[in-house]
Every structure is written in C-alpha cells, then in structure tokens.
Amino acid sequence: MKLEDLNQYKHLPPKEFDAKLDEILKAQAEARRATMPTTEKKKLVLKKVGDK
C-alpha cells in the first residue's frame, strides 16, 4: 500500500487511520535502510579511503 491509497480509509476513526499510515511509513523506512549503508559498511569504506 502507498500513501496515495489512503483516501479510501479516510472514513476510519483517527487511530485506525493512523495505523494504516504507520504501516506505509514503516515500509518506506525499511526500504530506505536497505539502500543506505549500515554503520559497519560506512566504517569499512572510510577505512579503505584512509588506507589510500
């Protein structure tokens, strides 16, 4: 589900609607984490640069 799909849930009580939004944003955050380096990866990269 995407943000664009939320109009169909606008009739829900605030907490139930909020849960739908939370689900979408958490999935977006998970996708963002998958594309960004973890700290461990970042530090490995920095070490390589330093070695040069």
Binding site: E4, P14, D18, D22, L25, R33, M36
Partner: protein, 309 residues
C-alpha cells in the same frame, strides 16, 4: 519636527485575505496564506462546540482532537503534495484532557506561554491517563505547547516521526517518576526538536528523547533536558546520519544525578556539538570524532572536559 510630505492612505476596512474560506472574513480571523485553513480551539469560549466547523474564532471547537480530525479530512492523499496550503490549528490557553492522535501536514500553535506552570497561561495537553499525543508523526509542527503525562507511558509516543517540528514546547512528567520517555519514536526522519524543555514534577523523566529505529537527519537543538537515565538515547537506533544534538543543557534537574547524557554507543553518527552536560557519563559515543566542544562534567570520573569526550 519632520513632517511627511507623502499622502496618507487608509487600508479598506474589509480584508479578504482568504476569500471564500470560512471564518476568514471575521475581523478576528488569523490569516496565514491564501489556501490553508485555520481552525480555532478554545474550550473556555462560551460558544465552543465540536459541532462548529472551527474556522470562525467566535465559534471555536472545544477539543483539539476535533480540529485535528477536521484538518486531516482536508488531506487528499492521492495528490502531490497531499495538502493545499498547510492548515493551522490555533489553541487558546487551558487544560485539554485529551489523548491526541496526530494531525498530518499541519501546524498546531498554542497561545499563551508553554513555559508557564499553570494552565491559565498555557495550553496544557494533559490527559487523565496515557500519552497526550500518540501515533504517527508526518509533517506536523507543534509550537508553544505544554504536554503532561501522569502515568507510566511516554509523553509523546510516536511510531514513525517524519518531518515533524517541536518548537518551544514543554514536555513534562506530571506525576513524579511515572512518565517514561519525553519523546519516544521507533523511527524518525528529518524531525526537529528545538528550544524545548523536558522536565519532571519533583522527579525528572526517565529518558528525554529516544529513538529505537532511525534518527536520520533529525535535530535536537537548544533544549533543556532533565532526565534520570538518559538525556538523548540512540542506543537502539539504526540510521543516524546527518543527526545533530547541539547546544542542549542536559542534566538531572537538580533532583538526581543523570546517568548518561547522550548515548550513541552503537551507531556513532550523531554529531554532538556545544552541549552542556552533567552526568555520571556525559557522552557515551561510538565515534569520538563526532563530539565537538561539549562542556561536560562526568561525575563518575570527576573530570571536566572542554573539547571532545
């Protein structure tokens, strides 16, 4: 005496700043931009009623949640952006015993003074039990509001907290030692916590600010954070890139000695600059290069460190 030779003009008595927008033609109307709506909440107003549409200050809503629901209903999630002129909710001073679900793409402005201790001079969102605000943060700006939690829960309890601003707010434990965390999030992105006060009643909050997921590109700047266990806790956080904690005063509020001021012991991406901290361990950080000119007293080792930790 200098006398202007320029002719004097008088503005017309009617100013149609929000032509067609309900409430905007009243002389008391608060006008912000041509498209966003302004909702008024004033529980003490004689004509306050949640059945009002809330856009006329002479007929305000009685509860903040009613204004939030009305504002959220204007969002078209299929549009880009989903809002047309960000709405405002203007709240008059008083105690609001509500457990709020957040507004999205909206500014919530408290009148009065959030630093006031009594509800006659500030907006105090203070439910009987549970968090004053809990849910998902998305594009909400909270300004000059006092949040009080009386039971064992976070004061502000967010799952995701994206693009939010807390500015000049007071976040408090109304029942000594019960509220757990000031602002608690499981995943934050691009949110700012600015110039706010985290304090207790006679006993501070357990933790000031905590993220157990991301704290990506977030800011904690210019706050006074009184806590027992940790001031800013990112020990469980994942992505903390571009995050900054700067110019904060972090301590135990005089009642206790804070255990840890800033905790970024795992990721180590939080830039800590110019903070003033007194704690058993002022800064526990995985990357010493990310701490600049913090003024700390580590009570545990009795050291005063002026540069780095």
């Amino acid at each position: 005496m200098y006398q202007s030779i320029m002719p004097q003009f008088k503005l017309p008595p009617w100013f149609g700043a929000q032509m067609g927008v309900p409430g905007s033609d009243t002389p008391l109307g608060f006008r912000n931009n041509p498209q966003g709506l302004v909702y008024y909440v004033d529980a003490s107003h004689g004509d306050a009623n949640d059945n009002n549409d809330g856009t006329d200050p002479n007929q305000p809503k009685a509860t903040i949640q009613s204004a939030i629901t009305a504002s959220n209903a204007t969002i078209d999630w299929a549009a880009t952006p989903p809002y047309t002129g960000m709405n405002w909710i203007i709240v008059s001073p008083g105690e609001y015993a509500e457990n709020l679900t957040p507004p999205y793409y909206c500014k919530v402005i408290g009148l009065g003074l959030a630093t006031g201790n009594t509800t006659d001079i500030c907006v105090d969102i203070h439910p009987v039990a549970g968090s004053p605000l809990a849910g998902t943060g998305l594009g909400a700006h909270w300004f000059n509001i006092h949040f009080t939690c009386d039971t064992a829960a976070p004061v502000l309890d967010f799952g995701v907290m994206n693009s939010c601003v807390f500015e000049n707010c007071a976040i408090t434990d109304g029942n000594p030692g019960l509220a757990t965390v000031g602002i608690d999030t499981t995943d934050a992105n691009s949110s700012w916590i600015i110039g706010s006060l985290f304090k207790g009643n006679s006993n501070p909050l357990t933790i000031g600010v905590r993220s157990t997921g991301d704290f990506y590109s977030c800011r904690v700047i210019g706050c006074e954070i009184c806590a027992v266990t940790t001031g800013i806790d990112l020990a469980g956080a994942a992505l903390c890139g571009n995050a900054i904690a700067a110019h904060n005063y972090i301590w135990g509020g005089g009642a206790v000695l804070l255990a840890t001021g800033i905790l970024d012991s795992v990721v180590g991406d939080l830039l800590c600059a110019g903070n003033w901290i007194t704690a058993t361990d002022a800064i526990n950080h995985a990357d010493a290069n990310m701490t600049i000119d913090n003024h700390v007293i580590n009570a545990g080792v009795g050291a005063i460190e002026l540069v780095g930790t």
